[in-house]
């Protein structure tokens, strides 16, 4: 027992040593000593690895405000955490349509832009977006577009200029699709020439029909697994966020990336907001202001790989990144792209139902499965009864 306790204690102390103490270098800022709760996407801030800036530590050093930094995986899980109560956040990072939703439900605080002077660096074209028309609640953090990854050995680049390639029977079993409804439906909608934000039931059903038609050709519905599947050549065509292209395209010479220009694509923005009820609003605004500092933005963006909404930050990034159309596509592509906004609840319910249908492959499969299981059960019971009777007869 003693040895076990000693072992546990040594593990604990080791861990204690690994967690470096917060830089307690407090300046005489009004919020020094306060701790703010930040809720961001996973792997979405420069963390100091390989000599880069540790953004949170740098913020604490500059302002004396401590950061309790936690992460989420989807807008929806962030939303459920926020609305479930019991967790009070000061800064959150919702995407475009989620800002819209939170705003409509009165779950965001209006920002005091006097506390965010660095907002001046945000380029005009990213201000007053469709999802936050008065630009009162959100400040853009990153943006990007959706495009197509392809394996140059098997796929011609011209083919990837249209979403049609994801329905091409030639690549059956080598196609990957998004594993979230909004992005997956979005591709079908652009192929049909429908808006992402339509509330017409027929439009959504048409898109669902298209996805069902595509299903037999799809190898898998995945998110981050596309990196491995594309890298190993297991899959040849896959749509994904442009910002993630760099690592893959840079490493594997056979992988190409195109933004489909014919039908247009999704333009997405991840933003910084303050949820209603934040107890440290001024400190939260200081954090947002800090992340808008061009130097900090450049450090974060070179870690994340998406694109910055600040020209001043863009200038600090390496030339090969900023001149790369994957990261900073020409205005002509952006003009054709569309941003997600929040949909009414009825439409969201419709989408959830349709998405389940697409992924289940229709109700037919489950019925056969149940029928087969029932048949086995009946057979088993039959055998058991038969054996029992036989034994009884033998006993007699």
């Amino acid at each position: 027992m003693k040895r076990m306790i000693a072992a546990l204690l040594s593990v604990l102390t080791l861990c204690g040593m690994m967690v470096p103490a917060f830089a307690a270098d407090k300046k005489s800022t009004p919020n020094a000593g306060v701790t703010i709760n930040v809720y961001n996407w996973g792997e979405y801030i420069s963390d100091g690895s390989d000599g880069t800036m540790d953004a949170n530590a740098e913020f604490t050093k500059r302002t004396g405000i401590r950061v309790n930094y936690t992460t989420f995986d989807t807008n929806e899980s962030m939303y459920s955490k926020l609305s479930g109560g019991g967790a009070e956040y000061d800064v959150i990072f919702p995407s475009d349509y989620m800002v819209n939703k939170l705003m409509k439900q009165g779950m965001l605080e209006k920002l005091d832009f006097n506390n965010i002077p660095n907002f001046q660096y945000i380029d005009k074209q990213y201000r007053n977006p469709k999802y936050d028309p008065d630009n009162a609640y959100s400040v853009p953090y990153t943006w990007g577009v959706v495009g197509i990854f392809y394996n140059k050995k098997y796929v011609k680049p011209e083919e990837t200029e249209s979403w049609d390639i994801l329905w091409n029977k030639k690549y059956a079993g080598k196609i990957l699709m998004f594993d979230n409804p909004r992005d997956a439906f979005g591709i079908a909608q652009k192929r049909l020439g429908i808006s992402y934000n339509t509330t017409d039931t027929n439009d959504w059903e048409a898109a669902a029909a298209l996805l069902k038609e595509q299903k037999p050709l799809v190898q898998a519905y995945v998110m981050d697994q596309i990196f491995d599947k594309m890298d190993s050549g297991e899959a040849w065509v896959a749509p994904y966020y442009a910002g993630d292209a760099a690592t893959l395209v840079g490493k594997n010479k056979n992988i190409g990336f195109t933004i489909p220009t014919k039908q247009g694509t999704n333009f997405f923005v991840d933003t910084m907001c303050i949820p209603k009820g934040s107890k440290h609003k001024a400190a939260a605004e200081a954090y947002i202001n800090f992340l808008c500092d061009p130097k900090v933005s450049a450090a974060n963006l070179s870690y994340i790989g998406y694109s910055t909404p600040e020209t001043a930050a863009k200038k600090l990034l390496p030339e090969e990144v900023t001149s790369n159309p994957i990261y900073y596509p020409p205005q002509s592509i952006l003009d054709k792209s569309e941003v997600f906004t929040d949909l009414p609840d009825s439409t969201n319910t419709l989408i959830d139902g349709l998405w389940a249908e697409v992924k289940m492959g229709g109700a037919g499969d489950t019925t056969t499965l149940i029928a087969v299981l029932c048949a086995f059960l009946v057979l088993y019971i039959g055998i058991v009864i038969y054996k029992k009777r036989k034994r009884k007869k033998e006993m007699e």
Partner: protein, 275 residues
């Protein structure tokens, strides 16, 4: 037949351990950030980056603190509970209590998680506090408790119930009779229970997800990486955790076999003396 059963056994072990070996292998992979499928040379870079990553270390620290506290408290409570249940005179009462304590084990985790979240939200609002470390520890103690009771109970039932009375007859006060006679007999069960509680607490995701508030444990942190991609640092971390738990198990087993050897030797000596 023997070869067939051997092949079967090898297959089962392969099935159980192949994933862990692949994980360990890839934690030493030299490739830069990208590959989970191609091994391109040996390197310790993910280990060095792991120990520099403040966020992972913070999440790991939280997880370990919660696991140690939850395991310790639930072991003490569970052992006391098992003894209490064992000494219930009424058979019917004993059965009911046993079933009630087993309920959290069979209850779907998601139900436990959501109901605990509701309870914590309501009660913390009344006090003006927030969910966090405290609520996580309480939740973990709750779901660890039945497992401790389950592993201590059989040891108690194996024990001769008259031993405790005999100790008292020979002049032990009730407390010292418990610590000198009962406790040594059930220690293996307590240790198994504590280890089970510890490992269950470390890898719990569902209940922690709902009760964590703004505190982040390791499983939640790893899960949140799936939009970008799970960093190979996690492979390194899992390897370290696997090794730590393996060492812990070996130490406990070695210790136990030493004790049983000693007991066997003492017994044979006593028999010889009698003869």
């Amino acid at each position: 037949m023997k070869t067939v059963s051997r092949i079967y056994m090898v297959l089962i072990f392969l099935f159980l351990y192949a994933p862990i070996f692949v994980l360990i292998l890839f934690s030493f992979n030299d490739s830069s950030a990208m590959s989970r499928s191609v091994f391109s040379g040996f390197s310790l870079r993910w280990y060095s980056r792991l120990f520099q990553d403040r966020l992972i270390m913070e999440a790991l620290g939280n997880t370990l603190v919660i696991a140690v506290v939850a395991a310790a408290v639930s072991t003490v409570l569970g052992t006391a509970g098992a003894i209490g249940i064992g000494s219930l005179k009424n058979k019917w009462m004993r059965r009911v209590t046993m079933n009630v304590t087993n309920l959290p084990m069979v209850n779907p985790e998601i139900v436990t998680g959501v109901s605990m979240m509701l309870l914590f939200v309501i009660s913390t609002r009344a006090v003006g506090a927030n969910l966090g470390m405290g609520s996580l520890i309480i939740a973990h103690i709750t779901f660890c408790l039945p497992y401790v009771i389950m592993s201590v109970r059989p040891k108690l039932m194996q024990m001769d119930p008259h031993l405790y009375e005999a100790a008292q007859d020979l002049g032990c006060a009730p407390t010292s009779a418990f610590f000198k006679v009962v406790l040594p007999q059930i220690t293996p069960g307590i240790i198994t229970g504590a280890i089970m509680a510890f490992t269950l607490s470390i890898d719990d995701f569902v209940i922690s997800y709902f009760t964590s508030g703004t505190t982040q444990t390791l499983p939640i942190f790893i899960y949140s990486m799936t939009r970008k991609r799970i960093s190979p640092e996690i492979n390194a971390l899992s390897t370290v955790l696997f090794a730590a738990i393996l060492v812990l198990l070996i130490v406990v087993n070695a210790r136990q076999s030493v004790i049983t050897d000693k007991a066997a030797r003492l017994q044979s000596e006593a028999e010889e003396a009698e003869a």
